[in-house]
Symmetry: C2
């Protein structure tokens, strides 16, 4: 089995997640996210893994956008991975005035950094590993790095994950082409694309159909279309239930009829996949 994942290598969190869950597979790093998902869409691999949301830095728009455009690739499973960031500096370090890391890690740790290093400059570099290597190579006494435990092992630890960025989890989707069977505890992810704008309550209408059938919603996001001309927007909704559940089918059909009564647009509501609910538990 071939499994693509977001590279450049297995040291990334997506790489670690993929290794853990697909130890015996042929694992293929691809960049960027669009290419990872398109490898499934174009039948070059069997499955892929991509990040979809981090508790601190938010959802990954490229994952949602690309899935919305695909015809075959769909979500088949979700998983979570705890992320442990460490702040490290040379053992003989002086006052810290610069902090190196990946932009995303710097954002995730911004609360701690503001509290403890309010005047330090944060500098995004290519990888968390490079942040550490540059400090060692150039003997930067005024610089700290945010990186994994493994990467900072040669440095003095200035802050451990529970201070630096507690409860840091990333959620991943496993993408494939085979719809999953219902397990009785599933979730379904929808992309809803109403063609109307400035209509008060369109979302309220849609939510009403789900509520009316007792379907809980876990996640909701509205965002404008990428295109200036369309002037529309997307809603992404994640609901409790499987796409083959009668209630889910009925609610989606009602919402679709309400948003597109003349059935002009095939993609008004698109099911991005159904998958077992792992309930924000860390399953690695």
């Amino acid at each position: 089995m071939k499994v693509a994942y977001l590279g450049p290598n297995e040291k990334t969190y997506t790489g670690q997640f993929t290794r853990h869950h697909f130890l015996d597979a042929e694992r293929i790093p691809i960049q960027p996210i669009r290419g990872v998902i398109m490898a499934v869409e174009n039948n070059e691999v069997d499955l892929c893994t991509v990040p979809v949301e981090n508790l601190h830095s938010g959802e990954v728009r490229d994952t949602l956008d690309t899935l919305t455009e695909c015809h075959r690739a769909r979500i088949v499973r979700e998983g979570f991975f705890d992320i442990y960031h460490y702040l490290g500096a040379l053992k003989n370090h002086e006052e810290i005035t610069k902090i190196f890391s990946k932009d995303e890690a710097l954002n995730q740790c911004s609360r701690y950094l503001y509290g403890h290093y309010p005047s330090a400059q944060t500098i995004g570099v290519t990888s968390t590993e490079e942040a550490v290597q540059r400090i060692i190579r150039e003997q930067l006494l005024d610089t700290a790095a945010i990186a994994s435990k493994e990467s900072v092992s040669g440095l003095e630890i200035l802050a451990a994950p529970e201070e630096l960025c507690p409860d840091n989890r990333t959620r991943f989707f496993v993408i494939g082409v085979q719809p999953t069977l219902s397990t009785g505890r599933d979730k379904t992810f929808l992309a809803i694309h109403p063609r109307v704008r400035d209509r008060p309550g369109v979302l309220h209408d849609v939510l009403g159909f789900f509520r009316g059938l007792g379907i809980n919603l876990e996640y909701i996001l509205s965002r404008p279309d990428r295109s200036r001309e369309l002037k529309g927007y997307y809603f992404y909704i994640e609901l409790d239930g499987h796409e083959t559940d009668e209630r889910v089918i009925a609610a989606i059909n009602s919402a679709r009829l309400s948003l597109d009564p003349h059935k002009k647009h095939a993609d008004t509501i698109k099911i991005l996949g159904s998958y077992p609910d792992s309930m924000w538990k860390n399953d690695n």
Copy 2:
């Protein structure tokens, strides 16, 4: 007047936006976003400017998080800035196998890069300017950079903004401490923090109060709490109307009473600010 903005310098898009709108002010670069907003909260500057959303890469969680925690700092104005990315390489370049830029610019251009350079490796560097400088300094014939027109002026242009990333706009908030007066065409941003979980339709209830009073919603996002213990979530809602409008006051009061009938939590609905609606127009 002192205006803080997201640094490191005026070459950033936030820096350019700030210079355009506050030409005569003392402009102070600060990093990261949390520090920029806290400079207003702590009375060190009069105003600040921070990015809140990009059409391609999504909202800036740090801006929303920090505003939600502030007691004084609030949104007083919104603005938009068109972003023009160029892809450039050395004039005698060979086949492009690597692309350097800021992570965010790489994400924003991912559709074009996947279509035209499907096997190129994307590498995040500290700034778009550094991406160009490294190519020139190290004479990298196999590498292209995504950067501003100014930065790529010494390179051969491989792709212009309309191909590379059309309709790329970032939305900014101007943050201050003085509530703004109503102009008759305003928007209001709310952070809603229900203390209940797994209750079907809590959002439907809230939306119903706004809809019942004919208030349009422009933006909505639900996200989990950062803390694992709370197991709650936030909704961010942007609505048409000013916080002093009778209808807006009535809808917020109804929603608050519904979410927190015993008035236990002062922050169940927090108004992050009201500001003139600039309607996704580019006003620079």
